[in-house]
């Protein structure tokens, strides 16, 4: 057997080069995970969304498990930009992978205030603008559904910072392609698709909505087909890289998202299930690419085959054959 070179897992997101395409999804990660997982293995780290000022999260319950996934409505508690830089960012700096700071706001102006507070801060490699949280009292989600607003917010953040800006998109829109194009027009270096799918959980016995804010965001394997579809649509709409997220839990899932058009991927819920999933996937991806003779992970991006699949009976079954006749000749 010939020895193959180890596959190249490096990917580029704008001017940012990542050692591999696997990173956590915002909200499902913190340096606290470093207590049990080697975070130096990750392609990047993504923070919980940081707002300009401190804010509390939502009332209980914030979580509810559902079939193949979970609903959450945490509501993005934040120490505010200053508090983040003082208390949390130093813990990110203890690890080597670049830190992507998720940026939040309830209004366009609030995004800009947060961007100004964090611009130029050492240890921030990129921003991911969260114009898609389904669980905010106002703003985030509605704003992310309007292409013109997304373009304004992205441009405003791009104008205020010196590092790549990524737009995180909501799936709860009619055309995610339109939103992706707006983000690209605003100067985004990449788009992340998707944020949680808006959902509702009901307790049939108590007749009570299970989540404190009534609706919440559905995540986990249950939303993977929706996320794949969104990634595929977004990737066809823009020239910038797409970061795929939504229900990824295995190496196969990662490959599926790459084929659909993703350049990199994020994992969220799967880290709750098995805390070391991201590291296992990085190891498994390298082994899989080596076994398949793929030299570089970027070869897979957008390599999805579409249209009628060829199968063994191709050309044998004849739709034009008369129904009365036998379509397959008897020997």
């Amino acid at each position: 057997m010939t020895r193959r070179k180890a596959p190249d897992l490096r990917v580029r997101i704008g001017s940012l080069e990542l050692a591999n395409p696997v990173m956590p999804a915002s909200g499902c990660f913190g340096p606290e995970l470093g207590a049990i997982v080697d975070l130096n293995r990750l392609g990047a780290m993504v923070t919980k969304t940081v707002f300009a000022g401190p804010r509390s999260g939502n009332p209980a319950h914030r979580l509810d498990e559902s079939y193949g996934g979970m609903l959450n409505s945490v509501g993005i508690p934040s120490d505010g930009a200053a508090g983040f830089v003082r208390q949390l960012l130093p813990h990110y700096r203890e690890w080597r992978p670049p830190t992507i700071v998720s940026l939040g706001g309830l209004s366009e102006e609030e995004f800009f205030v947060a961007a100004e507070q964090l611009a130029g801060v050492d240890g921030i490699a990129a921003f991911e603008v969260n114009v898609s949280c389904p669980n905010l009292e106002a703003g985030g989600h509605e704003l992310g559904a309007v292409p013109a607003a997304v373009e304004r917010v992205i441009r405003g953040v791009v104008d205020r910072v010196q590092v790549p800006v990524i737009a995180k998109l909501t799936p709860n829109v009619t055309s995610i392609a339109d939103i992706a194009r707006a983000a690209e027009a605003g100067g985004a270096s990449a788009v992340t698709a998707i944020n949680a799918v808006l959902g509702l959980a009901v307790d049939a016995r108590t007749r009570q909505a299970k989540i404190g804010t009534t609706t919440g965001g559905l995540t986990g394997p249950a939303i993977k087909p929706i996320a794949l579809r969104c990634v595929w649509q977004a990737a066809r709409a823009v020239q910038i890289p797409v970061i795929g997220v939504g229900g990824i839990a295995t190496v196969d899932d990662v490959i599926e998202f790459l084929l659909a058009g993703a350049t990199a991927v994020q994992l969220g819920t799967a880290t709750f299930t098995h805390p070391d999933t991201m590291v296992r996937i990085i190891d498994g991806l390298a082994a899989r690419l080596a076994a398949d003779g793929v030299a570089s992970v970027s070869e897979l991006t957008g390599a999805l085959k579409v249209g009628p699949a060829r199968h063994d009976l191709g050309g044998v079954l004849d739709a034009s054959a008369p129904e009365t006749g036998s379509p397959v000749p008897h020997g």
Partner: protein, 319 residues
């Protein structure tokens, strides 16, 4: 149940340093082999996991996150927070007692010896015993009884006189009595079915014993927390404090157990900051009062909120 604040009773974090600071060791992620998984009461099973690292550093009142999905399975997606029921450092095992209440715990009941289950722990800040304590009173109700057994063993080991009140809906659902008796505690069992768990009756019973305690501990019942707070309202021996220590272990839905998901807190839009996390700042909190709350105490603590004075264990609903 979610962790909402009690009116008149404020729950605060245990101090980070000093005699009442909890012991906190770095958590471990292990694939722990199942040693045993046997019924101990109606709908209750005791799971024994081989986890020497966790057994070596776990402290009373701490918990573990148990992943329900087996290796290679993607769902159920959420691990379950489970109180550590027993620690056997010599054998390198920990015990968890759980009640079959939903899809996750139903799956757990099918775990077989030799299977390896993803386990993270020890987690959280557990119970602490005041240094001068000579006697303590411990309340456990239902599944909440599973959070107090490690405390009972620790206290009796220190020579502290321990009285345990175990409460449940009926006799079949009582849990932990044998464990507490073996540890050397006096155990009082009360149930709803004969009225003995009624707080007024219980208060009379405990009051007639003519005995005050240096600390009170509660898990699994809001009404017992009120009762503990009332009983604790007396001068403390050898101290200038006017009330005894009261600690309560809370339950909440959790996803990470480490403090980054914030699923276990309860806030309100408009609050200037996030409220404490049950996983990282608790699950054990101290009961604290202000002067105004003292006045309210005179009204026999007529509290009508719905704080989750429960165990950090299996807060799941049947889907």
């Amino acid at each position: 149940m979610g962790a909402r604040p009690l009116p008149n009773v404020r729950l605060v974090k245990l101090p980070p340093a000093g005699p009442l600071a909890p012991h906190v060791a770095p958590p471990l992620l292990v694939e722990a082999p199942v040693v045993g998984n046997v019924p101990v009461a109606r709908d209750y099973l005791r799971l024994t996991l081989e986890a020497p690292g966790i057994a070596a550093s776990a402290a009373p009142g701490q918990f573990v996150m148990l992943t329900i999905a087996r290796e290679g399975e993607l769902a159920p997606v959420l691990p379950r927070p489970m109180a550590i029921y027993g620690i056997d450092r010599a054998a390198g095992t920990i015990d968890v007692v759980y009640r079959i209440v939903g899809a996750g715990t139903r799956r757990m009941a099918g775990w077989l010896p030799g299977e390896r289950m993803t386990t993270v722990g020890p987690l959280g800040r557990g119970f602490t015993i005041p240094r001068n304590a000579r006697s303590i009173l411990v309340f456990g109700r239902g599944i909440g009884s599973c959070s107090i057994t490690t405390l009972v063993r620790e206290a009796t080991g220190l020579g502290v006189e321990v009285t345990v009140v175990l409460s449940a809906r009926d006799r079949d659902a009582l849990i932990g009595a044998e464990t507490c008796c073996e540890a050397g505690a006096s155990v009082i069992e009360v149930v709803d079915s004969d009225g003995s768990s009624d707080p007024v009756r219980l208060a009379r019973l405990l009051g007639h014993a003519g005995h005050t305690h240096d600390a009170y501990y509660v898990c699994g019942s809001h009404r017992m927390l009120e009762l503990a707070a009332r009983l604790a309202h007396h001068p403390v021996r050898g101290s200038t404090a006017t009330h005894a220590e009261v600690q309560v272990s809370l339950e909440a839905h959790m996803a990470c157990g480490l403090g980054y998901c914030h699923g276990c807190a309860a806030g309100r839009p408009g609050l200037p900051a996030e409220t404490p996390l049950v996983c990282r700042d608790g699950p054990v909190f101290r009961w604290a009062r202000t002067e105004r709350q003292d006045a309210a105490l005179a009204d026999a603590l007529a509290v009508g909120s719905d704080v989750a004075a429960g165990a950090a264990s299996a807060p799941e609903t049947a889907p």
